[in-house]
Symmetry: C2
Subunit: 111 residues, 2 copies
Amino acid sequence: MELELAAARLAELGHSTRLAIFRILVKAGGQGLSVGDIQQQLDIPGSTLSHHLARMIKVDLLQQQRDGRTLYCQLQFEVVESLLGYLYAECCTADGQPLLAVNKIDSAARC
Amino acid sequence: MELELAAARLAELGHSTRLAIFRILVKAGGQGLSVGDIQQQLDIPGSTLSHHLARMIKVDLLQQQRDGRTLYCQLQFEVVESLLGYLYAECCTADGQPLLAVNKIDSAARC
DNA sequence: ATTTTATTTCCATTTATATGGAATTGTCAA
DNA sequence: TTGACAATTCCATATAAATGGAAATAAAAT
């Protein structure tokens, strides 16, 4: 992922409401969650939520899929993955040594 | 790290100039790099750079240390680590299963 | 057909971010 | 103690983001 795109995606995660949406959608997993359910969890006006979702969709952090009159939001996990992968790649020195210890932490322990 | 702080830090990384600064400082490692060196690499006006640095300092992504008339900028690696750690922790489902495959990628391979 | 439900888009307003020239501060060297 | 250098702060301006009520769209139920 090139820098501009990574920055754009990080900017979208860099807002407390949107980071909360991200969090909720991670917990929801692959099947996603309806806009209404998200709204209920966050307790914010529909239009505000809609704007935030639109922004996240624009940078491919999430996707929507309609089922009847309900719109389901699904996190684009591959995109999130590539974003985090980019950050990690950037967190290596020129000589290829990782500077962060996050890799060493057991993933299960963090959950 | 709580959500608000994580969001604030992500927002600072979510700007192409600042992400470029981040990148440069990662490559520079622990000893850091002078403001002038960063400016030379980015080729932007000093005042603009200064504003960006100030923002990053405000959320503790970096630190400055004066040596004579030169100011050295050092990335706060522990902070970056905790931020990425937070994101990874959020990327686990409620039942503790990591949803991202980034952990499985060999860290050396990404550098 | 009409109402209800789910969600978006339109619109206006407020607030924050980004940018960079000019003036300023801090430090060293002659 | 003046001059140059490193970097910031001041200031003004332009642009973008955030917010939410009201109107519009889409789909289903009555």
